[in-house]
């Protein structure tokens, strides 16, 4: 049962991920990306990580992909096609990716037993309250330091993004030559 679900979800992820890089219309790529991310949210559910799955949907689908679509709206026209890859390029890509696949497959097939079985695995470990307790724990298992640093990171990103994206109004200009720039 769980294997069937896993295979279905994996196939879904792979199928849509392939569409992301092959579809000619870039908006369709973004939608396929969304579907692919939904698939990975499903994988998290299979792993009992409900919190991660929901965060995946909220952050990636409700945030990242929406902004990707915004960027597409602002930069392209409808019906504009991406430049299709030339045949030799596709060939090279196929060769390289099959090498990578063979490498990873061989690696995992041979060394699967070197994966640790400790760590977080039960449903309780992935629940919201457990995650919250780990994030705010000051003990050795706690992640309060990265949790706090992330807030600095976000603040910094907002400041930087505002600086880069801000339109230069006249009031801000000190020299006359930069006034034509908006």
């Amino acid at each position: 049962m769980i294997d069937t679900l896993f295979i279905i979800l994996s196939l879904m992820i792979i199928f849509f991920a392939t569409l992301v890089v092959t579809l000619p219309n870039i908006l369709h790529c973004a939608l396929a990306l969304m579907a692919s991310l939904f698939g990975s949210a499903g994988l998290y559910i299979l792993l009992n990580a409900e919190m991660t799955a929901l965060a995946q949907v909220a952050v990636y689908i409700g945030g990242v992909v929406i902004f990707i679509i915004f960027a597409i709206f602002l930069t392209t026209r409808m019906g504009e096609k991406t430049t299709p890859s030339s045949l030799p390029k596709i060939g090279w890509g196929l060769v390289l990716s099959s090498f990578a696949f063979a490498g990873f497959y061989g690696f995992y097939a041979k060394y699967l037993n070197s994966v640790s079985t400790t760590g977080y695995s039960t449903a309780e470990d992935g629940s919201m309250s457990a995650v919250g307790k780990i994030l705010l724990n000051t003990g050795s298992e706690g992640l309060i330091i990265p949790f706090e640093i992330v807030s600095v990171l976000l603040l910094m990103t907002v400041i930087g993004a505002v600086v880069i994206a801000r339109a230069e109004t006249k009031a801000l200009n000190c020299d006359s030559e930069s006034q034509e720039n908006i």
């Binding site: 690696f107 994966v115 400790t118 990265p146 640093i149 600095v152 990171l153 930087g160 993004a161 230069e168």
Partner: protein, 475 residues
């Protein structure tokens, strides 16, 4: 015991202070106020850092370590932050640079300070998540800062390249971490260390290490991942370039050292040969690339690629001298590079920062030309300057491990590098300018910084106790 992390905590507070000064204070010379406040604050942090006991270990909230090695790295970051702010001050005034005025001063300073805070986190981290977030915090501000000349197409292009390369790096780091987590089942250094001690040849873990070190090579601009560096160095405003070439590079080195001499210590020998080969290729490519440049910042990029090669060479030796020699060299590299960038900033006020702009410098300002020669000789490693001592220690550390072939190769490379450093000196002393030159203006900040840095370049190599102190702390 909170004093151990006071400098770290003061950094974000200082950034917020600068931002709020910009918000609330109305003044004609606000730019100067902002830069001076920031510089004073960073100076305070530097003093605090130097006053902390370097021979103790302290854990803040069990996962944030402060000890001698980490303090030394933090001092490097703080000092480079200090000089970057001073360097930036010159760019924020009118006629400060031919590319235009650097706007949004408070944000500029705040981003730099946040960046330094990220670097602090990288060295102090005791688990991989803090390490990763610190690394991001040290990198993301650089994307913004690289694009700070918004009017300049090349600036935006460089930032774009940097952000793509940087994202790839982050993805690689995370992929590596996921392998490590898969192998160990925990993200803390202690758990990783005990895991590596019991299974030193776990294939899953080694596969993860490959990814993480590929990412470090990106950060350090090691060959074959060095392509972004020249473009980004050229695109960024010069203070940012200086910060990139010193602090960012030191962060990547700190990243490697804290891992190799922390959780990965039992399998350090695995990395000897890959690092050695990479270091050799990197210094060669850096040196060959630098020969064909005519743009000063691009030139500095290739020069710093080569320097990264020399620094990585010390890690190959895998001996007691490795870490002290690297830190010693980083201090010297800091002084020399910043001195050079200050000279570039003086030259770049009215002319583009190119080799040709150096022409006539010896006549116009003999002192500046002399300092330029000192710095370049120091970078090339000519005795008795600091650069020589530093490079000597790096090579000695490699020799300690018995890699004499590598040392000879590096020494040859160092000789090659003398050629292109001399090219600059030739421009300054021999080549005649084509037209009459406008006079150079040097502000007080610039002359003050150049004086201090020159003193450091000369003296650091001559005083023997400096290196022995570092060895005592770290060794």
């Amino acid at each position: 015991m909170l004093t151990f992390v006071t400098p770290d905590m003061l950094l974000p507070i200082l950034a917020l202070l600068v931002l709020s000064i910009d918000l609330f204070i109305e003044s004609k010379n606000k730019t100067a106020i902002l830069f001076d406040t920031a510089a004073a604050g960073v100076l305070l942090i530097i003093v605090l850092l130097f006053n902390l006991p370097h021979d103790q270990e302290f854990y803040y909230l069990t996962n944030y370590k402060v000890d001698g090695l980490r303090l030394l790295f933090k001092e490097i970051f703080a000092i480079s932050l200090f000089f970057t702010i001073l360097l930036g001050k010159g760019y924020a005034r009118k006629n400060g640079n031919w590319r235009g005025i650097l706007k949004y001063d408070s944000e500029f300073i705040a981003l730099l300070i946040f960046c330094a805070f990220g670097m602090f986190c990288v060295v102090s981290a005791q688990e991989l998540i803090t390490l990763f977030i610190g690394l991001e915090l040290a990198t993301i501000p650089m994307y913004f800062l690289t694009a700070y000349y918004k009017k300049d197409q090349s600036s935006l292009e460089g930032a774009m390249k940097y952000i793509i390369m940087g994202s790839l790096t982050s993805a690689l780091v995370l992929l590596g971490y996921s392998f490590w987590y898969g192998a160990v089942g925990c993200l803390r250094y202690e758990a990783i260390l005990s895991f590596v001690q019991t299974n030193p040849d776990n294939p899953m873990f080694l596969a993860g290490a490959i990814f993480v070190f590929a990412a470090v090579c990106f950060k350090l601009a090691m060959v074959p991942f060095h392509m972004w560096a020249p473009d980004v160095y050229q695109a960024a405003p010069t203070p940012v370039t200086a910060f990139l070439s010193v602090a960012s590079k030191s962060t990547a080195i700190a990243f490697v050292i804290t891992l190799l001499y922390g959780p990965l210590a039992p399998i350090r020998h695995v990395f000897t040969y890959p690092l050695g080969i990479l270091a050799c290729i990197t210094m060669t490519v850096g040196n060959l690339g630098a020969m064909r440049q005519y743009e000063l910042r691009r030139f500095m990029a290739y020069s710093s690629i080569a320097q990264a090669g020399y620094i990585m060479l010390a890690l190959v030796g895998n001996g007691k001298m490795a870490v002290p020699s690297i830190i010693y060299y980083l201090f010297i590299y800091l002084a020399t590079n910043f001195c050079l960038f200050f000279i570039i900033s003086v030259i770049g006020q009215k002319r583009p920062e190119e080799f040709a702009s150096l022409r006539g410098l010896a006549k116009q300002s003999p002192a500046l030309a002399g300092i330029l020669v000192l710095c370049l000789f120091s970078l090339a490693g000519i005795p008795p300057l600091a650069g020589f001592t530093g490079k000597f220690m790096l090579f000695a550390s490699a020799a300690e491990g018995g890699f004499y072939g590598l040392v000879i190769f590096a020494a040859l490379n160092s000789t090659v590098s003398l050629y292109y450093y001399l090219l600059l000196i030739k421009e300054a002393y021999i080549n005649k300018p084509e037209e009459d030159l406008e006079s150079l203006e040097i502000t007080f900040t610039q002359s003050f910084s150049i004086a201090i840095l020159t003193l450091a370049v000369v003296i650091l190599g001559l005083i023997p106790w400096f290196s022995s102190i570092i060895t005592k702390i770290v060794g």
